[in-house]
């Protein structure tokens, strides 16, 4: 299946600024995107990165669309032969097995919730559905599908639910991921720390990979 991977090529992951500077955030965001692309390819699917600016991501084909996320994805859906899947570029825990569960669900629309009300991945098999990533999108996507009379299914995956936005999310990458993003964090000197009963990250050396 074709899988779109929307990617902010310009100023990604600003909420990681307490632990990573701007250049590091760009490098880390690319490492995460390459992990997602690699997992899609390992699962036997066909990734296309939908980037806001021209970018070299190694093996992944890149389409450029400088519009915001929602219109860019809806335009790509309108042009594509369905079914099409969508997976966000900031899911460094994703595995081929998690993608198999997403793509293997036969519903007309399949959604994978993100922590905090987002939608981290979808499969769209009907042109009666369009995406809207604004606000509490997982609730909106479920309601929009129901309103359109479209069969919708929700995939239960921690690996798809964990998108990286804030420093504490990096602890999950260090605990559960094995790809480029994990290696990048290791080389940047980040490690898991426990603070007030929750895990977060601490940084022991300067400079990333």
């Amino acid at each position: 299946m074709r899988v779109l991977v929307p990617f902010d090529a310009q100023s990604p992951k600003t909420r990681l600024s307490p632990v990573l500077d701007a250049e590091e955030r760009v490098a880390f965001a690319r490492a995460m995107c390459r992990d997602v692309v690699a997992a899609i390819q390992a699962a036997g699917h066909d990734p296309t990165v939908l980037a806001t600016a021209p970018i070299d991501l190694g093996a992944a084909p890149v389409d450029v669309d400088d519009r915001p996320l929602t219109p860019a994805v809806n335009a790509a859906l309108a042009e594509a032969d369905l079914p099409v899947a969508i997976a966000m570029a900031d899911l460094p825990l994703v595995t081929p097995a998690a993608l198999d569960r997403l793509v293997g669900d036969p519903a007309e629309v399949v959604v994978a919730p993100g922590l905090g009300g987002g939608t981290n991945a979808l499969v769209v098999r009907t042109d009666a559905f369009s995406v809207d990533f604004h606000g509490v999108s997982i609730r909106d996507h479920r309601e929009a599908a129901t309103t359109a009379g479209v069969d919708v299914s929700v995939v239960d995956s921690f690996r798809l639910a964990l998108d990286v936005d804030e420093p504490d999310d990096l602890a999950e990458v260090l605990l559960h991921a094995e790809g480029r993003a994990r290696e990048w964090l290791d080389s940047a000197g980040l490690s898991v720390a426990v603070r007030e009963g929750r895990v977060t990250v601490t940084r022991t050396v300067e400079g990333g990979g």
Copy 2:
């Protein structure tokens, strides 16, 4: 399968104090525990609440052990006929399907990661393994199983990963749960709010159910 549900019957969920008072936290914690028990029963399994003090939880049998979590669970494991599963009492998103995936995994030890490095559910089929919930327990449990030469499997479930500790976690309950805990939050006047791009909860009326 027998499923132990450890439950802090005395002062549960203190980190919810910004939105719920002490009496409300007790009521909400019991609602979550009853949801977990109901999901276990609906999945055809046999729950036993392992409570720190005598408590009435309706249909669920309760064993009392006032020791901390780790020794109480290890004592229960030592006395039980294996396999035994363990599911935390603060998993209001849990469904029979999520439990089926946990219990249906044939590994000697099956673990379900919690957000923040915890372990939210396990299946133990060998007496060569004991639990230790202190610190970053998901990493410790994986390492302990490997050290003991025990086959360990990790279940990928958002519904098992989401334990309720902080106010933002309540937004996930409002978005994804349907049981008593969700009803309790609704009746207490809590609803989903968006703040700085993340969901949290807001409270519009006083008094809980």
